[in-house]
Symmetry: C2
């Protein structure tokens, strides 16, 4: 099924996109950057960098970390972070509706499916 | 200025996105895969692979190549290829209008711009 994936570029350096939103969702779900990283097959370092990068994009924090304790601390989404994820997902769903007609036209032109891996 | 960039995933393997559309536009402009590749800072091999990949996505050719002659042949977009580029760009423009409200809300939350390179 066709999906439309959005990347929102605020300027040349700051953006949110599919991968970043997925990371935020997983941080919210697991309460941990390390576990979210693992679920995405990403290094902890990379996930931490992305979370920092998202935080520095906005004037309010998106991800908050609690240091220390067994297991090295936890993380959660702020209410603003939750609304960011929600708004992005709503836009993604809206895109499929808005672009239903041109997407349908493109789908009709798709060739027979090939399995590129065989 | 905020931009919305779309990737259209038809399935797990077949998609069109920003980079592919830009490559098609440049092939149309220069009449050459090699020159389009150069303009994007991409190897000829990679550009050729992408063009093949786009062609095999659809049942009609998108890029057509003429072999031989001095300079190693030329390439152009088919009418279907031109319509694909046009439809994608129209969707991109439409996205900015459709999402004006949530985008504005996100922009208001942007922090002060930092130059990450200094």
């Amino acid at each position: 099924m066709t999906r439309v994936i959005l990347r929102i570029d605020f300027d040349e350096e700051r953006y949110i996109g599919h991968g970043r939103i997925e990371l935020l969702e997983l941080i919210g779900e697991y309460g941990s950057i390390a576990r979210a990283a693992k679920a995405m097959g990403m290094s902890y370092k990379r996930a931490w960098y992305l979370a920092e990068s998202i935080n520095s994009t906005f004037r309010e924090p998106v991800v908050e970390r609690q240091h220390g304790g067994k297991g090295g601390g936890s993380a959660h989404l702020t209410p603003f972070g939750q609304s960011l994820v929600r708004d992005y997902r709503a836009m993604e769903a809206q895109a499929l509706k808005t672009f239903a007609k041109p997407l349908k036209a493109m789908e009709k032109k798709l060739g027979a499916r090939k399995d590129f891996r065989t």
